[in-house]
């Protein structure tokens, strides 16, 4: 390396001695070249899952929600589990783009674009479930408070499900805007880089006439900061509100004031795990390991470790409170959770979320990319089970033992869940193919980190 680093503690964020031109070339390569075979195979698999899932949803809507395994006691299970799971995954995007931006965590630049895209796709997946879990999904629009001729009938502002509607739609909107704003300079780069007139026209329109002037940059950065400021509360609010679906209920195991921070920590935990999974795969497939470096993975591991410990703390707090409150119903729920018919789910959750992540303390393992990939998937499995455990084990045995019932999913529920993975990966693969998955302009801004050049200004 020709440049010696100024700070020995600061490692370069981009390795491989890239020039500005290299960055543009490297990031745009997958877009401008013909897609690889691997990409086609992945898309085929994802799209098949998507189509199968869509057909299943159609069948379920045409036949009735009875095609699921729910019953008079367990009114929610996989549906809301999947909803919370996907919303949780969607959490990493805003955290990376908003909070890390405000905290000036420059390492975020390599992953924020993909993480934001992931957020949007995950929220779309999540939003499917509240709609299709309804008995009459064709009336889902009744959830929105709009002037109508039915009385007028208004919505129930006391219902956490309604808060969800607002929380999710706000979150989706802000995420989408944030993502698009972030894309503008890169769209302009694509416009300038493109040889086809049509593409120049198209990207020209979407880059909103970006000219790269200092003034444009200044406005752009101001806007980003404002949006980050607006989005920051959302990081906390969305999952807090989702958690209130449970926390405001009277059901032991749901009714807990701990839920908002517990859910937020869990969401970040699962979101980062998903980012890690995607980044490890993408950088391999797209040959972008110069930009998504091992040190990026290390950073994400730290976040994973921190939030994982928070989640573990929440688990133990729940058990402590169940004992300490002296509430017999609450105690029973937690004893049942750990020893009842769904004990296997509980212990899967504990193993995946608390026990195994402790291996991340070992540096040798942390530097093993394959290990990290495995761990990120394990965490996501664990986090899915966390939601399942909270939702199902609490309601399947609540107050009156006469109504206790078990639950097992049908193929329809499984296929629907698979379908959302299909949707997610289809969207993600298309994103990889058609948009720059790394924020070119932002990476250019941190290109010289750790290369001994003069400090680069923020951006």
């Amino acid at each position: 390396m020709s440049h010696s680093p100024i700070s020995r503690t600061r490692k370069p964020l981009v390795i491989g001695d890239k020039s500005y031109g290299d960055v543009t070339q490297d990031v745009l390569r997958p877009i401008e070249a013909r897609p690889t075979k691997g990409w086609y195979v992945c898309l085929m698999v994802a799209a098949t899952c998507l189509v199968f899932g869509a057909a299943t949803v159609w069948y379920q809507i045409a036949t009735g929600i009875g095609t699921w395994g729910l019953n008079k006691t367990v009114g929610w299970a996989w549906d809301i589990t999947n909803f919370v799971f996907w919303v949780g995954i969607g959490h990493a995007g805003t955290l990376i783009s908003a909070i890390l931006l405000l905290f000036r965590q420059k390492w975020r630049t390599s992953i924020n674009r993909a993480a934001e895209a992931m957020t949007i796709f995950a929220v779309i997946c999540a939003a499917i479930f509240p709609v299709i879990h309804m008995g009459r999904p064709w009336l889902a629009f009744w959830m929105f408070p709009y002037p109508n001729t039915r009385g007028p009938l208004w919505v129930n502002f006391r219902s956490p499900l309604l808060w969800d509607v607002f929380a999710i739609s706000t979150y989706f909107t802000i995420s989408l805007v944030f993502w698009f704003i972030g894309l503008i300079p890169d769209l302009a780069t694509m416009r300038d880089h493109s040889s086809s007139a049509f593409k120049r026209k198209l990207f020209g329109v979407f880059s909103l006439g970006w000219n790269g002037s200092a003034r444009t940059w200044a406005r752009y950065e101001t806007l980003c900061l404002i949006l980050a400021g607006l989005a920051t509360p959302l990081v906390v609010s969305v999952h807090s509100i989702v958690s209130m679906d449970f926390a405001t209920a009277v059901i032991p195991g749901w009714h807990a004031t701990l839920f908002p921070p517990y859910f937020v920590a869990g969401a970040v935990f699962s979101g980062f795990a998903m980012v890690l999974t995607l980044m490890i795969l993408t950088r391999k497939v797209m040959r972008l390991d110069s930009y998504i470096t091992d040190s990026h993975l290390q950073m994400m591991c730290k976040v994973l470790q921190l939030t994982g410990l928070m989640v573990a703390l929440a688990y133990s707090t729940e058990f402590f409170m169940a004992w300490y409150s002296g509430n017999a119903y609450e105690r029973f729920v937690f004893i049942n959770r750990a020893t009842g018919p769904f004990a296997w789910a509980f212990w899967t959750m504990v193993t995946c979320n608390v026990v195994l992540p402790q291996l991340l303390w070992i540096k040798r393992l942390r530097l093993n990319v394959m290990f990290l990939l495995g761990m990120s998937i394990i965490v996501n499995i664990g986090m899915w089970f966390e939601r399942f455990v909270i939702i199902t084990t609490s309601i399947h045995r609540d107050y009156l033992p006469s109504s206790w019932a078990d639950y097992s999913p049908t193929w329809v529920e499984k296929a629907t869940f698979l379908g959302t993975f299909g949707l997610f990966f289809t969207c993600f693969l298309l994103f990889l193919r058609f948009l720059p998955m790394i924020a070119i302009s932002e990476v250019k801004g941190v290109l010289h980190y750790g290369k001994g050049l003069k400090e680069v200004t923020h951006g």
């Binding site: 009735g64 008079k72 009459r136 009938l153 009277v250 009156l400 033992p401 109504s403 019932a405």
Partner: protein, 991 residues
């Protein structure tokens, strides 16, 4: 102007038509947002309206006008000559007398669901019976009606009923039948014996009809047949008291009741009447401590047993021993020795029997011993015990069996022998279904094959009608006239509440016709009553008045015939005390399906058994001890074998079942019936043995082996203990009587975040007395009938999706071998701070000003959040479109209640339609709604008056008083959801 009456005046006379011409220049008004078309342009086919009104506007020429006039006069006249498909709408202009669309008519009648013949009130809407309820004025059942009675209304609309008579399987007409059959009967009369088999006949007029028939065809025999007969009970009195009697039991003065294997609150004798007395006698508060003590000795865990203060589980074969031991103890105490065989029994059981005997002796003259056995010796022992205790004539009234033909097992057995011997030339059958229930099906088939003429009067296809040459379908009792001798000078009347839905006719009518009588059955009953019943009373001078009174009240009491004088003769008892290898098998009737005649009634199939909570099946009940000995669990398959009879059934492990016993319900495994009952469960009748002149329902020495396979039973409750939770409060008699003030926080409660609801004029509330509730489940079916609750089927019950709005939670406590049982009816608790209301995103569940928690079906989008958040889990979700596509079955729907669509939550509404009806009634009379203006469905049907509904805002209402004075509590009070349903604790009266 008759011409104009129908089409023109009825036509919606819209302003737009008459103003048509003038509006050309006028502003163009819309009809609605959707169709912004200018009025009158496209609502009707063009020219149609103009043509119609041209007649009136007289734009036509005189000739054309006359043509139209002539045509219009001729066509209605001509068409009315033809029997075109008539849509029988009820118009206000020309309506049936006494029928107001939307207003129910009630008719007093008598139930045909079983032999108990309870008094009914039948609710009809627009001419359709849609609900039966107990007739509180019935001298016999005194209000309340059981689950089976409630469900009969659905059987009326059973689409598998015969639609017309059949000859050799081919549809025919009644005229053809009446032309052919008398001739065949004459031939049969000359060739052999004509036999009519019926169920129990307690109708004096029917017996008179049969007598007429006998006069015409003298070579005739009438044989009543009940697969689950009381043959031994009736016969035993002949032996001990020299009187063939139908005893009448009365608990009204009983202090100690001992029942041995008699489920008198579930299916034995007359459960409704028993429950009425039983609950009154056990009302510790009203009776100031003189609370009936109930001891049940039984092998089966029965509904009655589940309510006992002391329940002694014994092996099925030991029930007889206990009776003899009890007799020996009582005779020792009374000092009068009655010869009885020595009894070998377990020392502990003997000690218990001694305690029971001592308790009975203390209450002599005020006690009652019952037995469900069909062994004459057992019943004779019971008679002797009751005699020694001085109960005969008091709690057991001996009524001579007049006007009644009861089943005699030995006579039926002789009949089968005669049939096999070819002595029977014609077999007529009604109500009885030996083709299914006879214990030796091959022998029956053999017998039947030798009968040249078989006529079935069955309402619907069954195993006996299958081989019949002629099917002359009878009416459902709701379509029939009939009378019932209810004992002690009480008579019940059944009156039709609807025209026969199909071309069926009462079998009495058929017999009359074939006997050459010209009277129809209605006139026949009248003439019979005029000649035989009317003269026995003095209140009414004229028969017409007497008759109208009887029809109006659903029956009449002409005063008891003198209590039969009967001298007690010492019985000679025998006892089969031989040890047997294997298990004792006891066959029993389930509360819903009974002996199998209701096997095509889906309501009854889906009714959870009050004890086992199983729907849609029969099974082999084993005690936990026996099950673990054999190594089986609930759902494992076992094979029962005795001689050459084999039956494999799933196991149900039943706590409290007698040791060494296996219990199997009869009535299942029908092979010829409608689709609801076909192939449900297995037929256990082959295990019946004919011994000692009676059909024995207890079999000793049955071998049981575990076989491979697993069969999931559709249970509605799978967890049976309360987990130490304060759900059902139990107190003993002394505690119940203590003056400590009631603990209830009905309206007080803890602080709440939510603002109080504005108090309305009424505050509806309910009190459920857990010591009165016997678990009989009549309320479940009553609610189902009232509220159009769908049946979902076995598969869906297995998925825990039954739809009942009221359920009975049954919990066990104590030891597995002899647990205490509590029944707790749970319906929507109509919380003041309802957790369901806050979470519904679309306000589909809201609070009414009178305190009801209301579900708005058409607003519900089906998030199920409310059901998740309901601590009582009373909300039911429409997982599918539960079909009401059976055109006949649909007629049983209550038009006041909407049929819920798929994806919608539903639950108990506190019968809001009844509240509204009561309120409107009060409003019309210009007063406030008062106690007694209405009763909710579960309350009305409860035979033991355990449910009280009323206005909590009225301090004088029964419910307010109950909650004020008794130790009422609310379920899960600590949640501060403030339910409007309160429970009064279960009171036990320990020995």
């Amino acid at each position: 102007m008759p011409l104009l009456k129908a089409p023109l005046l009825e036509w919606p006379r819209d302003w737009k038509v008459t103003m048509d011409d003038k509006t050309k220049e006028a502003p163009q008004y819309w009809q609605s947002i959707e169709g912004q078309s200018v009025s009158g342009t496209d609502e009707f086919p063009s020219g149609f309206v103009e043509e119609m009104f041209d007649v009136v506007n007289a734009k036509k020429s005189r000739r054309e006008f006359l043509t139209i006039l002539g045509f219009s006069v001729a066509i209605p006249t001509l068409t009315s000559c033809n029997k075109i498909p008539v849509t029988k709408a009820l118009g206000f202009l020309n309506r049936e007398e006494g029928t107001v669309p939307g207003v129910a008519n009630w008719y007093a009648s008598t139930c045909g669901g079983c032999e108990a013949a309870c008094g009914l009130l039948v609710k009809t809407r627009e001419g359709r019976p849609i609900k039966v309820e107990g007739n509180p004025e019935s001298p016999h059942s005194r209000g309340g009606v059981c689950a089976v009675g409630q469900a009969t209304v659905l059987s009326l609309y059973d689409s598998s009923r015969f639609v017309q008579p059949l000859a050799e399987g081919k549809p025919t007409t009644w005229a053809a039948i009446d032309g052919r059959i008398p001739e065949l009967l004459r031939t049969a009369n000359s060739q052999g014996k004509i036999v009519l088999i019926t169920g129990r006949v307690s109708s004096p007029s029917t017996l008179a009809v049969i007598a007429k028939f006998r006069a015409k065809y003298p070579n005739f025999e009438h044989i009543p047949y009940e697969p689950f007969s009381y043959s031994a009970l009736f016969e035993s009195f002949e032996k001990t008291h020299g009187l063939r009697s139908i005893p009448e039991y009365s608990l009204s003065d009983v202090e100690t009741l001992v029942a041995v294997g008699a489920d008198f609150l579930g299916s034995w004798y007359g459960p409704v009447a028993f429950a009425k007395d039983y609950s009154a006698q056990r009302d510790v508060n009203k009776r100031k401590g003189a609370m009936l003590r109930h001891v049940q000795v039984e092998a089966l865990m029965s509904v009655a047993g589940s309510n006992a203060d002391l329940r002694v589980p014994v092996a099925a074969g030991e029930e007889a021993l206990v009776l003899v031991a009890l007799l020996r103890e009582i005779s020792k105490l009374s000092g009068r020795s009655i010869e009885s065989p020595a009894v070998q029994m377990d020392g502990r059981l003997l000690a218990t029997v001694r305690t029971i005997a001592a308790d009975l002796w203390k209450a002599k003259g005020k006690s009652l011993v019952l037995s469900g056995s069909n062994r004459v010796d057992d019943q004779m022992a019971v008679n002797a015990i009751n005699e020694l205790l001085g109960n005969i004539g008091r709690s057991v009234k001996l009524m001579p069996a007049v006007d009644v033909a009861v089943a005699s097992d030995s006579r039926f057995e002789n009949l089968v022998s005669d049939m096999v011997g070819g002595k029977v030339s014609a077999l007529l059958s009604i109500d009885a279904n030996p083709g299914y229930a006879y214990y030796a099906p091959e022998r029956w088939k053999n017998g039947v094959s030798k009968v040249p003429l078989q006529i079935s009067f069955a309402e619907a296809r069954n195993e006996t009608s299958k081989s019949a040459h002629y099917i002359c379908p009878g009416n459902h009792f709701l379509e029939s006239w009939n009378d019932h001798a209810l004992g002690g000078g009480k008579y019940g009347l059944t009156q039709p509440t609807i025209q026969p839905l199909r071309a069926t006719r009462m079998f009495q009518e058929s017999l009359l016709r074939w006997a050459g009588e010209t009277l129809d059955y209605y006139d026949f009953i009248r003439s019979h009553w005029k000649a035989h019943i009317f003269p026995r009373q003095k209140r009414q001078l004229l028969f017409e008045g007497f008759w109208s009174q009887a029809v109006h009240d659903g029956g009449i009491d002409v005063g008891a015939a003198s209590n039969a004088k009967a001298a007690f003769k010492d019985p000679r008892l025998t006892l089969d005390s031989a040890k047997s290898e294997g298990l004792d098998l006891i066959l029993y009737q389930k509360t819903g399906i009974r002996d199998g005649r209701h096997a095509n009634n889906p309501w009854l199939h889906e009714l959870p058994d009050p004890i086992t909570k199983v729907t849609w099946d029969n099974y082999a009940q084993l005690s936990p001890e026996t099950a673990s000995k054999i190594g089986v669990k609930t759902g494992d398959m076992i094979a029962l074998q005795k001689g050459n009879i084999n039956l494999s059934l799933p196991v149900l492990v039943q706590p409290g079942l007698g040791g060494n016993t296996v219990a199997v319900a009869v009535g299942y495994g029908r092979t010829e019936c409608g689709k609801a009952g076909l192939g449900v469960g297995k037929n256990a009748y082959p295990f019946v043995v004919f011994a000692g002149g009676e059909y024995q329902r207890i079999q000793r020495g049955v071998q049981l082996t575990k076989v491979s396979g697993h069969y999931e039973l559709a249970l509605t409750q799978t967890h049976h203990v309360m987990e130490g939770r304060d759900l059902v409060r139990e107190v003993n008699k002394a505690e119940a009587l203590s003056t400590k003030t009631a603990v209830h926080s009905a309206e007080k409660g803890q602080p709440s975040m939510w603002p109080e609801h504005k108090p309305g004029e009424n505050r509806w509330g309910m009190a459920i007395d857990l010591s009165k509730c016997t678990g009989c489940s009549a309320c479940v079916i009553s609610c189902q009938a009232e509220n159009n609750v769908p049946v979902v089927g076995r598969e869906e019950v297995l998925k825990r999706r039954e739809m009942h709005w009221i359920r009975l939670d049954r919990y066990y406590s104590g030891s597995e071998s002899n647990p205490s049982v509590v029944h707790q009816p749970i319906l929507c608790q109509h919380c003041e701070n309802a957790p369901c209301e806050t979470v519904c995103p679309v306000l589909a569940t809201v609070h009414s000003s009178d305190g009801l928690n209301q579900q708005v079906y058409n607003r519900c989008v089906g998030t199920r959040y409310c059901a998740n958040n309901c601590p009582y889990k009373v909300r039911r979700f429409n997982w599918f479109d539960y079909s009401h596509d059976d055109a006949w079955g649909r007629m049983a729907l209550n038009p006041d209640i909407v049929v819920r669509s798929r994806g919608v939550m539903e639950k108990c509404s506190f019968c809001i339609q009844r509240i509204q009806e009561g309120r409107l009634k009060a409003k019309k009379e210009g007063r406030k709604v008062a106690e007694g203006d209405f009763k909710v469905a579960c309350q009305q049907s409860c035979p033991s008056d355990a449910i009280v509904f009323g206005d909590l805002a009225d301090p004088n209402s029964e419910v307010s008083k109950l909650l004020e004075h008794q130790k009422g509590y609310q379920l899960l009070e600590e949640l501060n959801v403030r339910p409007r349903v309160s429970f009064l604790p279960k009171v036990r009266n320990p020995l």
